[in-house]
């Protein structure tokens, strides 16, 4: 199944995403942000990096790239769309996911493994995982602090759309386990239909033993398993 991995000027994680997806049997293809033809793409990944240098606001300019109209169309059509780190920020700016990502609480760029608890399997990113499962995955960001208007936050929580939360290694969620001050320890969310998902940590960097953790595999496997054939 073909997966479009979109590259913006400043994206830097597309090769790792392509590698990890290939290992899982998908057919990832890098798509330049000015291309508007996503014909045949069963799903889309917006990878990490610094699209447009994070100028103005992270993801603010990327959301208007020519390719994004097609990404939005695929998202609306129910195709799996995944935003990793900067990709999550772009999906939030595009309004495909609620809320926004702002500067980390302690104003430090965080670059280390964190633990994530799977809080909902109702998304293309977590459907193959076990509720309560704890995953050790690298976090690598300065603006990973999730915020949202109270109504959006309640909706996320009430509808079981917070899919991943920062936790301790044994799965407890407390302030001490929250690396960046993210509201309610939120690390990843999904939309109403569960086909658009965003997370700040990098599952592609925890997809093989040589990377120190393969815990990200279950997330990427879920995404690949959610892909359905595109009519020719």
């Amino acid at each position: 199944m073909r997966v479009a991995v979109v590259v913006f000027p400043g994206s830097n994680c597309e090769h790792d995403v392509v590698h990890a997806m290939s290992l899982l049997g998908a057919e990832p293809e890098v798509v330049w942000h000015r291309d508007t033809d996503l014909t045949g793409a069963a799903g889309v990944v917006l990878p990490g990096g610094f699209a447009h240098g994070d100028y103005l606001r992270t993801g603010a300019i990327a959301r208007f790239s020519p390719v994004m109209a097609e990404v939005e169309r695929l998202a609306t059509a129910g195709r799996p769309v995944l935003g990793i780190c900067n990709g999550f920020q772009i999906l939030a700016e595009a309004g495909l996911l609620p809320g926004a990502l702002v500067a980390n609480r302690d104003l430090r760029f965080i670059c280390r493994p964190v633990h994530l608890r799977v809080d909902s399997t109702a998304s293309v990113l977590t459907r193959n995982a076990i509720p309560g499962q704890v995953l050790r995955i690298p976090l690598n960001s300065y603006e990973g602090n999730y915020v949202a208007p109270a109504t959006d936050l309640s909706a996320l929580e009430d509808d079981n759309r917070v899919i991943l939360r920062y936790s301790s290694p044994d799965g407890t969620v407390a302030d001490a386990d929250n690396p960046n001050g993210s509201t309610n320890g939120i690390a990843g969310i999904t939309n109403d239909a569960g086909n658009v998902a965003g997370l700040m940590p990098h599952p592609e960097r925890a997809s093989e033993p040589i990377l120190g953790s393969s815990d990200g595999r279950i997330l990427l496997e879920s995404f690949v398993a959610s892909l359905t054939p595109v009519p020719v």
Partner: protein
């Protein structure tokens, strides 16, 4: 024409820079400081001779790109 756009974080949205700077000021002895809030100033140069229309367009720019309504409020003022 020049328009000055002032962008401020909405109240209730985390402002870690503001919190850190408040702490720094208080540590410097300015114990009367209760809060610091960071905003941004964007100056937009507009060609044309219709200030009303230009201001309407700048407001539209704020709505679409310059400010994120989830986390920011904006103000537009024409610079004389």
């Amino acid at each position: 024409m020049r328009f000055v756009v002032t962008i401020q974080r909405r109240s209730g949205i985390a402002d870690p820079e503001g919190v850190a700077t408040t702490r720094a000021l208080v540590d410097l002895g300015y114990t009367e400081v209760g809060g610091v809030h960071f905003g941004r100033t964007i100056t937009v140069e507009i060609s044309g001779d219709d200030p009303g229309e230009a201001e309407r367009r700048v407001i539209e720019m704020c709505e679409r790109l310059l400010a994120n309504p989830v986390i920011e409020d904006y103000r537009v003022e024409m610079q004389s």
